[in-house]
Symmetry: C2
Subunit: 190 residues, 2 copies
């Protein structure tokens, strides 16, 4: 399992780190020793709107190489939904089996045309912004529809991370990781 975490200027870091933390524990706790990932963007460093900068590891790779692509949200996502170059890059993930968004990252998938006939969610204040892209917009924590998984606002990123742990490594792994990070809101999807 090889994951592309997509980052960009104007990201909400908690959208990324909330899902990154549980998933990367699948590796460090030995549940998925072969798990690997890249921090992918269109530039070497990206910052949130306050200037907190993170260093990326790959510039615009062909996303078809990955088993999962994870797109966080933030004010930058609202801008990037209208950026043709960025959206063309995201479209290279069309055939990726796990296309996953956090918060307003769903707008990026919407603009890429991934949500036309799907059920999907986003930050509860942005549900209307998603409607032009998506047949069935719902206000839920985590929504899976075929190859697309979308999640709600900001802290829902942690729920999404635990959901993916369960999907990829089973209920016991997810519960162990939930306990390890002392998260109290998540309950098993099954």
């Amino acid at each position: 399992m090889k994951i592309a975490f997509i980052v960009f200027d104007g990201i909400t870091w908690l959208d990324l780190i909330g899902v990154y933390d549980p998933i990367t524990r699948l590796k460090s706790l030995g549940y998925m020793p072969g798990l690997s990932w890249d921090i992918c963007s269109y530039k070497n460093e990206v910052a949130d709107n306050f200037g907190l900068r993170m260093v990326t590891t790959r510039i615009k790779p062909n996303l078809a190489e990955y088993d999962a692509v994870i797109v966080p949200g933030g004010l930058g996502a609202r801008r990037l939904q209208f950026d043709n170059d960025f959206i063309d890059w995201i479209k290279t993930s069309l055939k990726v089996k796990n296309k996953i968004s956090v918060c307003t990252g769903a707008l990026i998938f919407g603009a890429a045309g991934f949500l036309g006939h799907k059920k999907a969610t986003t930050h509860f204040l942005e549900l209307n912004a998603l409607k032009p892209y998506c047949r069935n917009v719902v206000n839920e924590r985590v929504v899976e529809d075929g190859t697309v998984i979308t999640s709600g606002g900001v802290s829902a990123s942690i729920d999404l991370g635990l959901y993916l742990c369960e999907k990829w490594a089973g209920k016991e792994a997810a519960e162990k990781i939930r306990e390890r990070i002392d998260y109290r809101n998540y309950s098993s999807k099954s």
Copy 2:
């Protein structure tokens, strides 16, 4: 209010970002327009154990300049508790009115001698490691004792952030921010 976020190699990024997110919203949502912060370390860039790198903004400033110092945890914190240079730097925050730790960041405060007569907490798996430093180790989400506030493991960082929002800007601000990030575990301290 001027905050120093302390970062280091081997940090758990969610420990930092969980508290950073709600606090920085105090500024962007207009509750504390004068709020400012630095990302402080002993080097220009730091990485977690998986190699995810963030860029710092100040190298070893005198921490007495700040109104609040926030120390996250991670495997690096367990090492740094025994690093005299690092602990000497942390000791410059002795008179700071808000000395705040997340998860195993409490071990750093312990090594700096800040917890001797305090009640404090840390990650639930590391409570015994904190005992040599601290009179009264408890297993709670957020613990305030005088000028020191400690919090539990990883996801408790978000609770801590909301706790600080409430302490610094009031219950309404904290509730607004809790809602905005769609966090469902936190309840008001008052």
